[in-house]
Amino acid sequence: MLEALLPEALLPEVIRQNLPFLLAGLAMTVRLAAIGIVGGTLLGLLVGVIRYARVPVLSPLAALYVEIVRGTPLLVVLFICYFAIPALLGYRTSAVNAAALGFVLFIAAYLAEDVRSGLRSVPPGLARAGLATGLSTVQVFRLIVLPQALRRIIPPVFSQYVRLFKFTSVASVIGVRELTGSALLVNAREFQPVVILATVALTYLVLCSTLSLVGRLLYARLSVRT
């Protein structure tokens, strides 16, 4: 399907010859990014809400998780998910699964902070007004506070998504054949680093720009004017 979209004749020789292999890598990149975005968003929402609501016991744990992950390089997070945790708990895992777990854990820590600061940016008077009309605390949160917080944090959340998309390249270090990993393998065989790396860089550039454009359009549509 992806092949059909590309003006193949315009591609450099080395790319054209290895196209199916590189496209399979690209598909893996998109898959990892999608898992990271969906899983990370759900976990980030949960952790952010727990910290905002100061849930006893859970809230300090959530804070600890956020601080530790935010202080650790992604590369180390992936190493820990691929080598350290399986060694500790005595299970085997594939590089792809370890990378997916690492991306979810990594990006959720950053998203949780965005969620929390978004929730805190909603003026308390609005919650009070909601309570005054007889809505319960949970209803006020669900109907008034959360929807506004989510709209406010679209820009930082999308910049995290873009960051994650780029960071999927790090999975190549633990042996995942996503776009970067596939490109390195092709290069090892063909040894044309200039053409191959330029093509890969351009691919990331286009996809990341598109993703941030989506974020900007969404924000333009949904942002709350006050």
């Binding site: 390089p73 992604l74 820990i80 820009p155 290069n187 860089a201 990331y204």
Partner: protein, 225 residues
């Protein structure tokens, strides 16, 4: 859990870990300085009145930060191999180009957050444009972006771990080497995770204590990079 902990092997290789830590610090400092300078210049261009300058700055920012850092590293190391740059220099170049785009964006939004009246008031009192920028706009913009700048500095330290893929012997690289010899996976990676965490905390602790930034007016953080 049946895992037998053995931290002694990590301790035996403490000299390697310490060497790695030094390289990580050196790499971070060597990259941070040009990152700040380039970021400041590009960011100022991005906030300038000239449309051409703004477009050029925008292209730099979008082009540099929408390519993964890992690719930046490989480009300097492999694609431009004929330059025969040492890996450390390649890593500095990659980190600088990538991070400066984030700094530029931050500086641009910081300048934008300083009320326009400030520059006008400076001009009205007879300051030249560069004086107004240096004496009135930058100091205020710096205070506004200080918290985000601090988190960018931490980000750069963590990002420097990717230099391990082009054989710069920093912390992550040494961790891989020790792990390869000892197979003490868990102990090794937890140790370096703690070291990175300590470095990052140290940096934010230090930045919090820079006088004049701590009592900065709370204009709020600008989009966390």
């Amino acid at each position: 859990m049946h895992y037998q902990f053995d931290w002694s092997q990590v301790w035996q290789h403490r000299d390697l870990i310490f060497d790695g830590l030094l390289v990580t610090v050196a790499l971070s400092v060597a990259s941070l300085v040009p990152t700040l300078i380039i970021g400041m210049l590009i960011g100022t261009l991005g906030a300038s009145g000239s449309r051409a300058a703004r477009t050029a700055a925008g292209l730099y920012v979008e082009g540099m930060r929408n390519v993964p850092l890992l690719i930046h590293m490989y480009v300097w190391y492999m694609a431009l191999a004929f330059l025969r740059l040492p890996p450390f220099a390649c890593a500095v170049l990659g980190l600088t180009l990538y991070s400066s785009a984030y700094v530029a964006e931050l500086v641009r939004s910081g300048i934008g957050a300083v009320p326009r009246g400030q520059a006008r008031a400076a001009a009205a009192s007879g300051l030249r444009p560069w004086q107004a920028l240096l004496l009135v706009v930058y100091p205020q913009a710096l205070r506004i972006i200080a918290p985000s700048l601090a988190s960018l500095a931490s980000q750069l330290i963590k990002d420097s771990s990717l230099a391990s893929v082009i054989a710069v012997a920093e912390l992550s690289y040494q961790a891989g080497a020790i792990e390869g010899q000892t197979f003490r996976t868990f102990e090794v990676y937890i140790t370096i995770a703690v070291l990175y965490l300590a470095l990052v905390l140290l940096v934010s602790f230090a930045i919090d204590r820079i006088p004049g930034l701590r009592d900065a007016p709370s204009v709020g953080r600008i989009a966390d990079a």
